[in-house]
């Protein structure tokens, strides 16, 4: 794994993003898209439980979470973050291979701000990340 693709030192004024996906290739792709959107990847993890810990310690502006991950699913992380007043302000973008309407509905009702079905286009992901980090206080 090329560490250069992952967490970088946050630059001042740029939104901080947590990326979690158990598929390394997809996670790398997401990190690229996040940077293309002008944000910094504060941490990238491949496990749900780690993602939850990272979210609580790093308090990123945005968490891009895969729905099906070991440790904890994206939906579970979503619910947990929303229940905690400290983390409830974190924007959440869910990524999933399941694109059926009720899956989208479940994701949104768990507290996600947006839901993107795999396979996604890099351009689509970039614009979603941009949309979700607009207006985030630096």
């Amino acid at each position: 794994m090329d560490s250069a693709l992952h967490a970088t030192d946050p630059s001042p004024g740029r939104s901080r993003v947590l990326v979690a996906d158990d598929e390394d290739d997809i996670r790398d792709l997401v990190c690229v898209a996040v940077r293309k959107a002008g944000c910094d990847v504060v941490r990238s993890v491949n496990d749900g439980a780690e993602a939850l810990v990272a979210a609580r310690t790093d308090l990123p502006d945005l968490a891009v979470l895969d729905v099906s991950m070991p440790g904890a699913t994206g939906l579970e992380i979503c619910t947990a973050l929303r229940e905690d007043p400290v983390t409830t302000g974190i924007r959440i973008l869910l990524l999933s291979a399941g694109a059926s309407p009720d899956e989208v509905a479940r994701g949104l009702s768990a507290g996600a701000d947006a839901y993107l079905a795999k396979p996604f286009t890099v351009a689509g992901l970039v614009s979603q990340v941009r949309a979700l980090t607009v207006g985030v206080p630096a």
């Binding site: 290739d25 396979p119 996604f120």
Partner: protein
């Protein structure tokens, strides 16, 4: 249940009684000429032997002659009318007795009176009575007429009066007795006939009952054997209160209890999962669990759905149960029938299949996501642009990755349709927009193939209620099919119009009673067509027409299956008209709201 079979008595055998033992034959013989003939023959023999002295030979000879003549006559006419014969013959015999009495002057001859008198008194009418009395009087008067020759034998004057009188009274008594006996015999005979007729009726009724009971028993046996032959399905019949009355081997096998332990002893409710029943009761606002169970069957006449049975060992079975009301022989509601098929394994297999399809599609989508994502990064990299050749190669990679992705999506969708987990997200959808989008999608492929696409949609659009994504998918399938199957220089025409459809599916241009408004989307090509014999299979999964295979048109045979499923889910219909070598037109009719 079986009626005791009544013993059938042997059929009456025609009487074959011997002549001599038959009373009727004896009577006829006694009334016939034989007794008198024998008596007079004996008299003649006695006279000839000289045991009775003959006083006057002439009179005696005349008496014997009359007796012989009368007896001979009696023999000659014994088959003629009885009434006349049985008066005339004894009367003549009386004359013969009178002559013999006169000729012998012996009172012995008076005994000869007995035969004729008996015959006269037994005559059917009373006419014999005066003849007997008169004849007796004449015979008794013989000594008076003969004078001195009878000096010793003169009967007293009282005998002359009392003799005939006694004979008359005796004859009358005998006659009346005989009449009474005959009448009684007639009554008895009539009663016997009536009795045998009744007996015959009873026998025939018993036969009918016997036949009917055999038929009923046979029917019951047939039903029982059919029910008993069902070992894979549970057949349970209950009273109105749910008490089990019928419990077949299938139920024994499924629920682990034998018939004697269940019938009349347990309720159907004991075999249902209580929480499920309670939830069902709550959902219909019912007061009793039984009503929750049979409610739909009571309302609809029958009901089929999955219920959870609890077997004797506590295991749960998922059972598809068909519930119907049961009536007795008078048509009165008597209870319920529950025919169950154990779906536990089937449902488990279905779940596994669904999970498998989901897993596979996830596993296929993930690498495809990577491929497409990184392709995009490479192709859109502004810092190091690709050569035209490289771009062309990577476009081919991307196109094929997209194709693979569509196939995965189609497979997943087909599995969802099959398992009934396919749901629509209804909204107002402008079909004109859907058609234009489909044209756009197919435009490049059509241009490459040299196929012209003509779009004819209403300028103001045509809105239906439906799932925009699915309708787009259906329309895309039809258009991409049409383009694929049309050779270069051909045309694909997409048209959309408002129309009406009758209840039997016929599409008509004018509104008419019973017809509902529909949006009619047709995709007509000038392609290779579909052979008539294959058109029926066209919507079957993985079916590929012979023309498609011959012309090496790519595809796996899922597009039309999916299109059909989407159309059906929207309450619409999908039809086609095709002629091999001339082209195919697919027509999708989707219901518009009332008074659209």
């Amino acid at each position: 249940m079986s009626l005791a079979v009544l013993d059938r008595p042997a059929a009456p055998v025609p009487a074959r009684t011997h002549r001599l033992t038959d009373p009727a034959t004896w009577q006829a013989t006694l009334r016939g000429p034989l007794p008198c003939t024998v008596v007079f023959a004996a008299t003649a023999a006695v006279l000839a032997a000289g045991w009775v002295p003959v006083v006057d030979r002439l009179l005696t000879g005349a008496g014997v002659a009359v007796a012989v003549a009368t007896s001979a006559t009696a023999w000659a006419v014994r088959r003629s009318r009885a009434s006349l014969r049985s008066l005339a013959v004894p009367a003549a015999h009386l004359v013969a007795v009178a002559l013999l009495y006169a000729g012998t002057a012996s009172a012995t001859m008076l005994f000869l009176l007995l035969g004729p008198l008996l015959v006269l008194s037994s005559h059917p009418t009373r006419a014999g009575v005066p003849i007997a009395a008169g004849g007796t009087a004449v015979v008794l008067l013989v000594p008076e007429l003969m004078g001195t020759a009878f000096a010793a034998a003169h009967p007293p004057a009282g005998a002359l009066l009392l003799g005939p009188l006694a004979v008359a009274v005796g004859s009358l008594a005998v006659h009346e007795d005989k009449r009474r006996v005959i009448a009684q015999a007639g009554d008895i005979a009539r009663l016997q006939r009536e009795q045998s007729a009744l007996l015959e009726q009873v026998r025939s009724r018993a036969d009918e009952l016997d036949t009917a009971s055999r038929i009923l028993a046979a029917r019951a046996q047939t039903m029982t054997s059919v029910i008993d032959a069902v070992t894979q399905q549970s057949i349970i019949g209950t009273d109105r209160d749910g008490t089990i009355r019928v419990w077949n081997p299938g139920a024994e096998r499924m629920l682990g209890l034998l018939r004697p332990d269940v019938v009349r002893k347990r309720s159907i409710l004991e075999f249902h999962e209580p929480d499920e029943l309670a939830a069902a009761a709550e959902s219909i606002g019912s007061t009793t669990p039984l009503e929750a169970l049979v409610h739909a069957a009571r309302v609809e006449g029958s009901d089929v759905r999955d219920w959870t049975y609890v077997a004797a060992d506590g295991s749960h079975r998922t059972v598809s149960v068909a519930i119907t009301p049961r009536s007795d022989d008078r048509g009165v509601h008597a209870g319920w029938n529950f025919v169950g098929t154990d779906m536990t394994e089937t449902r488990a297999t279905q779940r596994m299949k669904d999970q498998f399809v989901s897993l596979i599609s996830h596993e296929l989508r993930t690498p495809l996501s990577s491929i497409l994502g990184y392709l995009e990064l490479v192709m859109d990299d502004e810092e190091s642009p690709l050569t035209e050749e490289q771009r062309q190669y990577l476009s081919t990679v991307e196109r094929n990755a997209q194709r693979l992705l569509r196939l995965v999506g189609d497979l997943l969708f087909t599995a969802q349709v099959e398992s009934g987990r396919f749901t629509l997200q209804p909204a107002d959808v402008d079909l004109a927009g859907v058609v234009r989008a489909a044209e756009e999608t197919a435009r490049v492929a059509a241009a490459n193939a040299g196929v012209e696409i003509v779009v004819d949609v209403p300028a103001d659009g045509l809105v239906v209620s439906g799932d925009a994504v699915r309708l787009g998918q259906a329309c895309d399938n039809l258009v991409s099919n049409a383009v694929k199957f049309t050779p270069g220089g051909g045309q694909v025409r997409l048209s959309l119009q408002r129309s009406w459809q009758t209840a039997d599916g016929e599409v008509v241009a004018e509104q008419r009673p019973g017809a509902v408004p529909v949006a009619l989307l047709s995709v007509a090509d000038t392609g290779m067509g579909i052979p008539a014999g294959e058109q029926g299979q066209l919507f079957t999964r993985f079916f590929r027409s012979s023309t498609a295979q011959r012309n090496a048109v790519p595809g796996v045979g899922l597009g039309l299956t999916i299109t059909k499923a989407i159309t059906t889910a929207h309450g619409g219909s999908l039809d086609l008209v095709s002629a091999e070598g001339q082209g195919t037109t697919f027509t999708m009719a989707l219901p518009l709201g009332p008074a659209a």
